[in-house]
Symmetry: C2
Subunit: 204 residues, 2 copies
């Protein structure tokens, strides 16, 4: 007698369940933080049974790393949209990018900040997987800024005395710090100060 | 018949219980984060019964604000020790302070960062009490840096073209951002880049 085909218990997996979990997780973790976001809350928000979570993700940590990928890749698309636009002078592109981000934080009333920064504060000390993911994504963001600065240097808009790699890292890290202070003050003042110092002093 | 004096249930309160809770809470919250630190974990670490917590603190939020006070006041003592030492040139004091902090993060293997930054990422969006506390403490730290920069300006070590208030805020916020990147990379490179950019470019 032929064996019967194995039957699945529980609902049939839907192809978009994995994406729904990541979208729900991204929203929840960005708003509440990684430590404060439980798997139960994430599956509830995605409207899927809890068992589904472990069908797609080995652990909360692995899920967190994928949430970071999703956030960072989306953010890099926006960053490239601004920084690779050769119709505009390189430093004007960089300034326009930060102006766009400042406007977005004004409309959200200065909450949430940057998910990469939040994970760095909340989880980097406790998870090598998340730390490695963050380091790689920060590096990718820095590279995009660095390439823009190299164009500015080639056009004579900034000097050659400082490494474009260090300058890009410094700009990105200082922005992350400005976002922390923005959340403490619920004000755009730290972001405006960042812009004044970077564009009025550092890049002159 | 005289009424008997009221008897207390539970252990006699010890005058140092409140301090023990704050010390234990500071250690735990700095290592694990505010969201990840439960009241049960804090009372266990302080070796006091859970009921004691609410004898001294109205809520976890009120406790968090006191932990911020404790951390910030200790940190300001160190900051003043370096920045108010008139035997040394103002910018050299500021540089010595950051060198001291970099050495401390090297010996702790780049964990924990700054508690004010961590609370900003983790709790500022969700608690007005904690947000107001953070904003006040950041301002106090900035003021100490600003006073040192004003001395440097009076001695002609830095120019007068940029507001010392904005410069102090920018230095503090950029340091906070460098600490986030330090934790993602487990490396002093972001701290060294911070120093190179601030002392090699910004303050020249």
């Amino acid at each position: 007698m032929e064996p019967r085909p194995a039957t699945r218990r529980g609902p049939k997996p839907k192809p978009d369940t994995r994406d729904n979990l990541l979208q729900a997780g991204l929203q929840m973790i960005h708003a509440e933080g990684y430590s404060a976001s439980g798997i139960q809350g994430i599956v509830d928000r995605a409207d899927v049974p809890k068992g589904s979570f472990y069908t797609y993700f080995a652990s909360k940590e692995a899920f967190g790393a994928e949430v970071i990928d999703l956030y960072s890749e989306r953010g890099q698309i926006k960053l490239r949209d601004f920084l690779c636009d050769r119709a505009i002078a390189p430093l004007a592109r960089l300034e326009a990018y930060f102006d766009d981000r400042i406007a977005a934080f004004r409309s959200s009333n200065y909450v949430r900040g940057c998910l990469l920064g939040n994970f760095s504060a909340d989880a980097a000390d406790h998870s090598t997987m998340i730390r490695d993911s963050l380091a790689g994504h920060f590096k990718a963001w820095s590279r995009i800024i660095e390439n823009c600065l190299l164009e500015a240097r080639d056009q004579g808009a900034i000097g050659r005395e400082i490494s474009a790699t260090s300058l890009a890292d410094f700009i990105l890290n200082s922005w992350e710090g400005a976002l922390l202070r923005m959340r403490a003050e619920k004000s755009d003042a730290p972001l405006i100060t960042f812009k004044t110092m970077i564009f009025g002093k550092m890049l002159r």
